[in-house]
Subunit: 517 residues, 2 copies
């Protein structure tokens, strides 16, 4: 033991663990975009640039891509809450039973499957599921109890900050508040799944005519100003970093933008570029929301540089599900807005689950690296704890995700590229049935993907390497592969006791995939 | 320099200032109650127990009084925002020009003086004033720019927490957010001056029929539960202390309850006691709100004990103005609810400005000590910084308050008991005129008090030692004292360029008090 070590040890007894460790601990910024599709930036995630990539002006995402590692085959759940709760729990949604979005109204499930006045599916009845989301404590009905990732970070001394959208749990339950999930600081985060308005002029929805439980809170300072919601959340995020930076506390910033979720309204700062390029109003409005989020990313990166902490700050970029393909306000033609991917948000086809993802870890990731191994949202739970150097932690839940640290940093992966990734949506998404979106389960394993359509109880098989658009169902000509995939998927669903719909005509649960072969 | 000192110094270069200093820095809890009158607890602030004192069951306030120092002659401003901004600025309200409550709607002053459809005073026109409150930055119209006390605390390493009511500034201005005033953490604090509902069952006002900009934010986890607002804010406050306690960071908790402001609705946990005692519904409901706040104080004290930090935590107890005497929902007889004090909230008579105040500083204050020297809200700015050991700080504003540390700790005061304290309310409080409340200025100096009634342009003089109820105007028999008091008061108002009303018949500003003699 040399003198310096001894000196530090002597002082250590009097001094906070968080402070002592800060020289080693990296800061972590999780930059999460809402409803942003895989093609919705100029960053090339696929094997080529697709037409949609050329539509978007996202220089800061581009910059991050050039500095960091692109995860070319990153996946999330088909809708918001399942992904967000996977991040906090490390559990696959089919395992946690949080398979649709959590409710904003206590005691009332919010997914369309439960809506009494919805046009229902003729064939299926929705299953019971954990529509109250995650819970840090036991005994909360319709929740899964978990040890939140942020709680472990905070317990380790991380100054944990939540900015933006929560959507982990129902109103009236503990996880409705970020303060119960291990966050030290919360700006605006609660149960809402979307903003009521992006405009400061409309108080972000907090006016007599616009208000709903979806209205974003805590931004009163911008009321009546022309500050866009994306800008306001960014400014708030940077403010919250003041204390940990000054006091040398490692921080975790969960920067969860509402952008680019509906309402698809123009961001006046950016929309003209897209109108000039000949896009229709909806397309231009959407692209302007994307560019607003891009600016936010740039502002954060510039801030890190200015504060001299960029070299010790990891940035993780992710979207929470695929782009919305079932909303006319986005312009274009419905169900084609993620081409070449099939369908969009809420579907278990690639358009609903394949998401943009990048990681920049200064000194660890290689500039411009591309990783093709498929990864999934729940991997970020162990990954972030690994990044923070937190080992041997205890969790109430069984974590399904795997640490991506080696994969991201040196590419010599301990992650099997043939690992199976499960997507499960046993619900009707909207108050009216949607053929290629509702009631589906799918699983990717290597280049193969099985799709289970609950309504028809048919299995499909795609080879994603040859058929990224899932247009060529090869189930009938690959019986062995289909059976192998069906068996693996069924074993998972049984083991996890995943919510499964029932048949309307006899009340019985639909068969597991392997029972169809 | 001994070995230990040397060791610490060696390590100090690597370690945060906040952490190093924590052994010396006390934690500070500012427990602020809204609209609680001087008589509204079992704590004896006066020279005797008055009938009202016997009404209330407040064992925890009693306990704090027995451990700490009672400030028997503590004053605040007649309404909320002026007091709250005085705490943050150290300025007297007549100096800051924030003389009424700040608005919740951008660009629209909220005081009744400005309401277009209010029944106006026949004689007077309200002055211009800083109805947008304080601002941490320059150039915001109708604000006074200040260095917030909490900014200095945060800059010194304090982990600064805001829980509850803000009400420092208008929506659409920077100080609408506690994050712009040097707070690290904010729970629920914004521009609202009152809660829309105390009930979790009513989502604290966040329902379609109840919502307004007054609805308390950030408590979604309690929606639909039977958690009273006072309880919810207390639970939230204790949660936020987790991080600073674990990481040995000194904290400042601004625990600003909405209780016991209107709406005066029953706290079901406590109301029966008061109904059984024969109080009317309004009185019982109000007393139940007080007892809810008392429980909160007790819960916080118990928490400090349990965490082993009670010995290093200062508790400051204060109300923001006198008890409301102009609201029928409180029961009893209007304008008598602070007896023996005259009038109540918004008045510059004692009932509007005399407030309960206690300070407990373990090892520094003496158990059961009573201090009679008059003190005022703005004193808490330099007092708290003094408690935190922050010296030679720079402020944009001129601070009027004086540190009470010596007064509180050893009674051998450097505060002149004859110091003049000014109260200024050049406004109409309600949409209808109120004789003994609207348009008044008063000043206490020693035992004497001058009252200036703007409407009649008459001066009154009271000897508070003999006449705590201000019923015996001795102006005509004490001309010399009256003149002395009028001169001092007028000099202050002129020096501060305090907002003064004008006469409706000629548009001219009303005379200063000394011009009437």
């Amino acid at each position: 033991m040399n003198y310096l070590t001894k000196t530090l040890s002597g002082a250590a007894m009097l001094l906070p663990a968080a402070a002592l460790a800060q020289q080693q601990k990296p800061n972590i910024i999780f930059f999460l975009v809402d409803d942003m599709g895989w093609l919705d930036s100029s960053v090339q995630y696929g094997d080529r640039m697709y037409p949609l990539n050329h539509r978007y002006h996202t220089p800061n995402m581009q910059k991050l891509a050039e500095k960091g590692t692109i995860l070319c085959n990153a996946y999330a759940c088909p809708v918001s809450s399942p992904t967000r709760t996977s991040l906090m729990s490390g559990m696959n949604a089919a395992h946690s039973g949080i398979t649709d979005f959590t409710t904003a109204v206590p005691g009332v499930p919010s997914d369309a499957s439960h809506e009494p006045d919805a046009l229902k599916d003729d064939v299926l009845i929705h299953p019971d599921w954990n529509w109250n989301g995650i819970s840090p404590s036991a005994g909360v009905p319709h929740t899964v109890q978990v040890t939140p990732m942020t709680q472990l970070l905070k317990d380790d001394g991380y100054y944990t900050i939540h900015v933006g959208k929560g959507h982990w749990a129902a109103a009236g339950t503990p996880a409705a508040s970020p303060y119960n999930l291990g966050f030290c600081v919360n700006v605006a985060g609660q149960v809402a799944g979307k903003p009521q308005s992006y405009y400061g002029e409309e108080n972000y929805g907090n006016t007599k005519d616009k208000w709903s439980t979806f209205s974003t809170m805590n931004l009163t300072e911008y009321y009546g100003t022309n500050t866009h919601l994306t800008e306001a959340l960014t400014l708030e995020a940077l403010k919250t970093l003041d204390y940990p930076i000054k006091n040398n506390l490692p921080f975790y910033l969960y920067m969860a933008h509402h952008g680019v979720h509906t309402p698809i309204t123009p961001d006046p700062r950016f929309v003209q570029r897209y109108l000039d390029a000949g896009l229709d109003n909806g397309q231009a409005n959407y692209a302007s929301l994307v560019e607003g989020v891009d600016k936010s990313l740039g502002d954060i990166m510039n801030f890190l540089d200015k504060k001299g902490i960029a070299d010790n700050t990891i940035i993780i970029f992710l979207a929470d599900n695929g782009g919305n393909s079932e909303n006319k306000s986005k312009g274009g033609i419905l169900h084609t807005q993620n081409e070449p991917l099939r369908e969009g948000k809420a579907s278990c086809y690639e358009g609903g689950i394949k998401v943009p993802m990048m990681v920049y870890w200064p000194g660890k990731t290689s500039a411009g690296a591309r990783v093709n191994t498929p990864v999934i949202a729940e991997d970020l739970y162990p990954t972030i704890l690994d990044m923070a150097g937190i080992k041997d932690y205890k969790t109430i839940q069984d974590v399904d995700g795997l640490s991506l640290v080696n994969l991201i940093t040196d590419g010599s992966s301990d992650i099997d590229p043939d690992r199976e990734l499960v997507f499960h949506f046993p619900h009707q998404w909207k108050p009216y049935p949607l053929e290629d979106i509702d009631y589906m389960t799918s699983m990717r394993k290597g280049d193969w993907k099985i799709v289970y359509r609950h309504r028809t109880q048919k299995l499909e098989l795609y080879n994603l390497k040859k058929d990224i658009s899932e247009r060529n169902d090869v189930a009938s000509s690959n019986k062995k592969k289909l059976k192998e995939m069906a068996t693996i998927l069924s074993d998972k669903l049984r083991k996890w006791n995943s919510p499964m719909p029932s048949l309307r005509n006899n009340g019985k649960q639909i068969p597991y995939p392997d029972e169809l072969i």
